[in-house]
């Protein structure tokens, strides 16, 4: 059963519609990731779920119970959740007192608080900062305090709003590690907002794409990343190759597409004449210096126009009569000595191609 069910939720700030007809189910124990660009309404949705605000219309069900728009019951339900805000927020108190806050507000016994707080501080690696004023911590440390302060409550639902935005890579890794640890324990349902695609991919079981106030797609991580249902989602999930094409043949599920500068083979059951977007993930495209005998159905000859490396990966852009982007490892860049103006063959499988129906504009 769904732990949280959002039904027909609308929200506005003044005249501006921020969320429009949101319908969402979040299952017990899952890690659900809301992804969407800045201003899409992620924070607003999390605030509504945490009962910090009341929606303009629509309902939220918690564990099957419709949450009232006001009253004491909201506090009781809110106490079963914890919310870590986007910017690390700490009270002007010691690290210990920060972390103990939620338990004190729930009137837990003193020795129990002491035991739990110390345990959590050790877990997040802040046991030596126990008596330090939390305001003197770095951004990453403050966010760990905020996370510990939420975790110590042992909430049924942990809401995280871009928990690693504005943090350095080291702190980001620590926070992600903690979140995936909580997720693995399985007692906590996690709802996390992020605009960081790899983070969503890495931490979530299920993803909801929020674009411009609307949930445009929900599904398993693989599903959303491999088969975005429209061009916008495709763009957003890092589908860098989106080429307009038309189906020219369909041979029992193997279609041929005319993309202007060539033909692409894909697995699909779209009929001949269908106008589609041809999507290929950059990491699914392999590069070689000669036309290889690989099993890939699609192979294009082109000239490299740009090589940009970030981290262990390198993004290679080439002109094959149409633009194609490939993501390759540093090792292959060195082996093939890939550089600007170099001529290469780009290959990808027919099963690596995802087609999206083009709607008449």
């Amino acid at each position: 059963m769904s732990l949280i069910e959002v039904v027909g939720l609308n929200h506005r700030y003044g005249e501006r519609k921020v969320l429009e007809n949101i319908n969402l189910n979040i299952n017990k124990g899952e890690a659900f990731c809301l992804i969407g660009s800045t201003g899409a309404g992620k924070t607003t949705l999390l605030r509504l779920i945490d009962l910090l605000e009341t929606p303009a219309s629509g309902d939220i069900y918690f564990d099957g119970l419709c949450i009232p728009k006001s009253g004491r019951q909201r506090l009781e339900i809110r106490r079963r959740m914890a919310f870590v805000l986007q910017k690390p927020q700490v009270f002007n108190l010691s690290v210990y007192d920060n972390v103990a806050s939620g338990l004190r507000w729930r009137r837990e016994k003193k020795d129990r608080i002491d035991k739990k707080v110390n345990e959590i501080l050790e877990m997040v690696g802040l046991e030596d900062y126990r008596n330090r004023n939390a305001r003197t911590l770095s951004g990453g440390e403050a966010q760990r305090v905020a996370l510990a302060r939420a975790m110590v409550i042992e909430p049924e639902i942990l809401l995280l709003d871009e928990p690693t935005a504005n943090l350095d890579p080291g702190s980001t890794a620590k926070i992600e590690q903690l979140v995936s640890y909580i997720s693995e324990q399985g007692n906590t349902t996690i709802i996390m907002a992020t605009h960081d695609m790899p983070q969503g991919q890495h931490l979530a079981n299920r993803i909801g794409v929020l674009l411009d106030g609307k949930i445009v797609q929900t599904g398993d991580v693989e599903q959303v990343f491999r088969s975005p249902q429209d061009e916008e989602v495709a763009n957003f999930v890092g589908m860098e190759n989106i080429i307009e094409g038309v189906v020219t043949a369909n041979n029992e599920g193997m279609v041929t597409l005319d993309i202007g500068g060539g033909a692409i083979q894909a697995v699909s059951d779209f009929p001949v004449g269908e106008r589609v977007y041809v999507c290929v993930r950059p990491e699914d495209i392999t590069l070689a210096l000669s036309r290889t005998q690989s099993s890939a159905r699609n192979s294009f000859y082109g000239k490299i126009t740009q090589v940009v490396s970030f981290g262990p990966l390198t993004r290679v852009e080439m002109d094959c009569g149409f633009r194609l982007v490939s993501l390759v490892t540093k090792v292959s860049v060195e082996e093939l000595s890939l550089q600007k103006r170099k001529e290469v063959y780009a290959s990808f499988k027919a099963t690596g191609v995802h087609l999206i129906k083009r709607r008449a504009k």
């Binding site: 605030r47 945490d50 910090l52 506090l75 809110r78 106490r79 959740m81 914890a82 919310f83 805000l85 910017k87 927020q89 009270f91 002007n92 108190l93 806050s101 939620g102 507000w105 729930r106 905020a146 302060r149 939420a150 409550i153 809401l159």
Partner: protein, 225 residues
């Protein structure tokens, strides 16, 4: 210049010798002002929180009026308390005119706007995110209020310090409703006023220095909290 120096030496002499009359006057000053400041704080800090955390029509106007009353002249408060508690006044039957009680009431009225206004602005200094953080961690509205007050504690303390300063330093109200009765309602400021009119400048200066000294002690004590 010589007079100030003389006054300074005299002040030290009076303090070191623990002059009974001076000690008595200073003690009364301190007692009355600490009492009025504490009582006013007990009313104004919760009331200021109530105003801050609730939205109602005319809230802006209320805050503007409170701030206007920061510059309430002490003699006006004196006049008001006088009218209220004098024999013929509506509360004349209580018989507290020309007593320390009347002085405490006068000072409370005098510093209420400052305590209220500065409490509200102290609370406004706490970010919306901190308030949301407390709520999201399961604080009830009362617990949230306490948490925000605690977050603003230094600014609230500054408000109390300001209130105390205004209370112990005022003379208009103390004379009008206390009457500067020796051994009963005479405080440092009313004593200075009297001694100066008698030409006893050295004693006046000594008393002025003692007043500042008292304020210093109270400030240091409050800042240690």
């Amino acid at each position: 210049m010589a007079e100030i120096w003389q006054g300074f030496l005299k002040a030290i002499e009076l303090i070191v010798s623990l002059d009974p009359e001076v000690m008595e006057i200073a003690g009364r000053s301190l007692r009355i002002s600490v009492t009025s400041c504490l009582l006013a704080s007990f009313i104004c800090i919760p009331l200021g929180s109530l105003i801050h955390f609730h939205n109602f029509r005319g809230k802006r106007a209320v805050i503007n009026i409170i701030q206007t009353f920061f510059s309430l002249p002490t003699v006006c408060v004196g006049l008001f308390v006088f009218v209220l508690f004098s024999r013929a006044g509506p509360l004349g039957g209580l018989g507290i005119m020309f007593t320390p009680t009347a002085m405490v009431i006068g000072q409370m009225i005098l510093i209420t706007p400052i305590l209220l206004g500065l409490t509200i602005s102290a609370l406004s200094g706490v970010s919306k995110e901190i308030v949301d953080t407390a709520i999201s961690l399961g604080a009830s509205s009362f617990q949230t209020t306490v948490a925000v007050l605690r977050e603003a504690r230094y600014a609230v303390l500054a408000a109390v310090t300001m209130g105390f300063g205004r209370a112990i330093a005022e003379v208009g109200c103390a004379i009008m409703v206390g009457g500067n009765i020796r051994g009963f309602t005479r405080v440092i400021t009313t004593a200075i006023s009297l001694e100066t009119s008698k030409g006893e400048l050295e004693l006046s200066i000594a008393l002025g220095i003692i007043l500042l000294f008292l304020a210093l002690i109270v400030n240091v004590a409050l800042n240690r909290l």
